[in-house]
Subunit: 157 residues, 2 copies
Amino acid sequence: MKQIIQLDPIDTRLVEALQQDGSLSHAELGEKVGTSAASCWRRIKALEASGVLKGTVRLVDPEKIGRGVNVFCNIRVRNHAQEVRKPFEDFLHERPEVIECFSMSGEWDYLLRIVVADVADYERFLMRTLLDHPAVGAAASHFALSMTKYTTALPVG
Amino acid sequence: MKQIIQLDPIDTRLVEALQQDGSLSHAELGEKVGTSAASCWRRIKALEASGVLKGTVRLVDPEKIGRGVNVFCNIRVRNHAQEVRKPFEDFLHERPEVIECFSMSGEWDYLLRIVVADVADYERFLMRTLLDHPAVGAAASHFALSMTKYTTALPVG
DNA sequence: CATGAAAGCCATGGTAA
DNA sequence: TTACCATGGCTTTCATG
């Protein structure tokens, strides 16, 4: 059972602010959320300790590095045994072009988001990497035309 | 036409490192990628200016704040005119539970990733918010059972 | 011309009251 | 919460390959 952490109004605004900009100083954060820098510092430490706040990352423009094409791929596994799924999931973790993977209810077992340079690049990945994996029974690919919205910020509070 | 920026080996490692941990100091980065702190500083400024590096964000554990349920929702719009799609996209930008939205090729027009607390929470969002929007013609929802992989780091180089 | 070393200033984190 | 201090990072300059 996962523990949900309750946040007071200041923590809530703090987490909102940090999700938007992780480079703010404690003083700026204090100003923004309505408390002092020292208080911010303590709250952030507590939020890190409780596991609410995770890492700080720098975001990259996909287009600028030639990874502007998003493909969603539904996967059905040959066999639902853990001995089949686990190695497949490990394999996905090692593939950097697989940005997201969800285990799904319904007709398909997994939904993957994959970033590639172009259609030919995806063909290579699909044919030579994904479909080669022994766990994969069936796959259905859907190309995105554009990214309408993408955020790492979750609604909080 | 989007411009793809070519990165030399040091820039590549720099961007890789910053995508993993955006809180490293220039000195630590220099050590990691094999150059000096000053050089790192200059390179980062250039990568920001060229648009490769975007913001720094803090990540939050979805489970810990009660947003552990992911739903993927396919949407078909009533009408493909820009006068219909644009207001719908603006509407999605205002909905914080909509984390990602892609305009899609194929049978459906949009694919949304939505984070909610539980199934009842999703029902409210679907019935009272999404399906109420005049642009929405049809919707098909798929629940994730678990998040197998999630990263913000794109493959570079 | 870009890089790396050196140095000073300043802001920041951390602590004590 | 406020005030303070010391640490360390940011930024510039300069010499070098």
